[in-house]
Amino acid sequence: MSIGLSGLRAAQAGLSTTGQNISNVNTAGFSRQQTVQTASTSQFTGSGYIGTGVDVTTVQRVYSDYLTAALRETTGTSAAADAYSTQVSQVDGYLADSSSNLSSATDSFFAAVQAVSNNPSDAASRQTMLSTAQTLTTRFNDLSGRLQAQGAAADRQIDDSVSQVNTLAQQVAVLNRSILSTGSASGSQPPNDLLDQRDALMQQISGLVGGTALQQSDGTLSVFVGNGQPLVVGSNASTLTTIPDDQDPTKKQLAVTINGQTQRVATQQSVGGTIGGLLQFRDDILTPTENSLGQIAIGLGSALNAQNQLGQDANGNPGAALFTIPAPVVTARATNSTGAALAVTITNPSQLTASDYRLDYDGTNYTLTDLSKNTSQQFSSLPQTVDGIQIAVSSPLAAGDRFTISPTRNGASGIALAASDPSAIAAAAPVALSVGSSNTGAAQLGSLTVATGSSSWPANLQTPVAVEFHVSGSTTTYDLVDPSTNAVLSSGNAYSAGTTISQNGWNLTLTGAPADGDTFTVGPNTGGTGDNRNALLLAAVQQATVTSVGSAQTTYNGLVGLIGDKAQEASSLSTSESNLLSQSQDARDSVSGVNLDEEAVNLQKYQQAYQAASKSIATAEVMFESILALFTTTT
């Protein structure tokens, strides 16, 4: 009977384990459980060993350390790839979108410039040019605004994820304490469900921040993030936080606070999970895209400003800047000495790169590091001009001071239209040539341009100067004369076909041979309402090299191509990572997952065992009854 009873107990245990498995078929992280039963020590009799029934030794979970660790790891990498890919595809979406991209706004603006050059005195064309210029700046602002909004959303998501990691870490620490208290390490029965819960929590942590888990001999699980910063040790959890990056204070960096001590998570690359993916997006996509857009905005805006400033507006005045160009962003490290400050200015907009720079001062030398190329150069003194920016000290630095310089960071967000009056468009050139009325030679105007390179009219640009030719035999020379005083400014200058005659900041070329005594006078362009020479030059800025990459269009195409590549790469990586994840999940489930058909069989098996054991008890009882009946009958 006791044998039957042990069988009954074993079958009951089996049934409840099966029941547990069936109930938890959809519980995340649940490992199916099995009862382990062994035949109990048999009794020796003269006729041999007679069984005494069955013992349920333990209930164990079917579990593979290796597969669980693999699943955890792929969860981390897959979440990182997924977060990164989702973010990049958004940027990709609006950079290439045919209605919101920069190309369409640039094209419309230059079409309007062409319209002004076709009809420079038409107020409507000028107004259209200003309106399309406004659209262009708004497009820059919008694109940058979208990037910034996405950056802010990514930041919020990082902060949310960080607090989630902290909650999960606390829970792991609590579970560690409970598991420790069961004393399972010292041989008592394993707390299967607690272990499963802890594995599930750990998998969630991996999905958020990556990290590694190490099973300790006392049964607790230690969790490390980044390159070895402890998040959970035993029953203590530390706190994950975000702090400004030491290398580049404009960026966020993860840190772990243990007992009030903050440890930086050294490199962003070592962080996985959603947070890792978002950090990678911030560093690899968001900042470079913002910088690159800024590079185009500053390059294009400055080139148009410079050309407009060399022209003459509708009121006959020197052209003014059409756009307001934002200044470089300088961020000081929080630990810098008091008052230390840099003054950074743009000296050559077309040489600007999309890089950020770090300036370190060690007390003697200044080290400037290009953060995207990771190259550095040393200076013993400032100011220095590098890549189109001039770096100067505006307030003395102390050893150990560090600054991050982002020359183009605010370019796209800050560019604005400076001109509001259509007459501010300088369609005309400030100088005009007048051909002497008694000239007999064939010489005609080739071109008359204002020397580029300055940001305003050269001095005396409009002072009239007469060019007088002298032909003697095959030798042609010219004198430059002040027509009002007849004072000779320079004489006997050699002239041959195509010679450029320069004075007061203008350059003149003639076509055809001048005759002896011919004069050409360069003077102010008064009343030249139909003059479109500078408008043509403004239109030419479209094809001109305005950034270190090339024209505005080329630079933007490069950016779109780069982001498109990254998005494609991220998307295929995300797909392959998610395949890996489902493979690991399948592998883990094939060992630890519940199969209902299997449990149905088990249910049947234990039910029958239970019935059989009951039967054996019943049989024993019948036997017992019949023996008792013997006595009953005799009495």
Partner: protein
Amino acid sequence: MRIATTTLYDRGLAAINVAQDNLAISQEQVSTGKRVNTASDDPIAATEILRTTSSLANNTQYIANQAAATQQLGTTDSTLGQVTDLLQSVRTTLVSANNGSLSDSDRASLSTNLKGQLDSLVALANTQDGDGHYLFAGYHTSTTPFANNGTSVTYAGDDGTRSIQVSATRQIAISANGADVFNRIAQGNGVFTTAAAAANTGGGIIDTGTVADPSALTGHTYDVAFTVANGATTYQVTDTTTNTAVGSATPFTAGSTIAVAGMQFDISGSPADGDHFTIAPAGKQSMFQTLQNAINLLAQPTTAAGATAKLATGLASAVSNIDNALDNTSSVRATVGVRENELTALGTSANATDTDGQARLSTLQDTDYAKSVADLTKDQASLSAAEKVFATINAKSLFDYL
């Protein structure tokens, strides 16, 4: 391999998700008609699309600019055509005026007629384009370029020539300034002018002359002075620039050629004693001035001694100046015509560029409908297959039989 029950559900769901994802992509391609909807669909094609779209936009602008240039040049061309007609009619009038049978009053009426022609010429020179801009004012397109104050016509424009960007590499001049068209016209035969002195009393008539030897030209001014003594007429040529006599006094034969420093000219008729003729390097004179001079000349009565000869000399020089004006107008018109031809060629090439660009863009971004619709059908089939499989596999459980 052992399969967990959740694996069956997960796999079924994953298969449906993949099928739906593919279906969504095919659907987008079919409904937008575009193969590349974001740069990541095909990064290389995406940048190429941006480049092509932008160059097409530029090309469209160039086509519009070409139309503007063609219109402007067309207006210039037809105006210059009218100028030519007018000058030809002026020339006819001047030739007909050189007729001894005409009376002073006949000439006065011709003079009035020419005054009308002058007004027409000024009106033509002040032609405006469709936008109200003066065609022949250089850059001063808002200022009336030519004004007739009764004695002369003044120019208020400048020497500027407006250009328009008509292709990526070509700017074409769309205007001819008034100074080049109307004002700077060579006088006489283009090299030198001949004139009779105002005080001449004889019947000597000088022609416009020709250049015999270009290498001998000096660019100096010469005076031919006649002396009639004892029935013999002689002339003395003097270089008035250097004030030196050229050769010695020579007997005069009417109609014989006189050659000086590479130039040669005829003096016909009978010059009186003390008559002078001046040979000077040709300057530039506006066609308005030529016309005004002719008007003044024809208004003069021919009663005074030598007046008929002066009239003939003046008319000859006027005709020659008008011929020069005609030449100049033709040559400006020819350059305008060349530019119009060039614009036609550029237009053809711009239209071809447009067609090519559209074709390129279509290849780059347009959906291959046959393929996409086939894909769509295939994706639909695989979605319903995935759903069917999911339903079948999960329909049965061992528990059904317990």
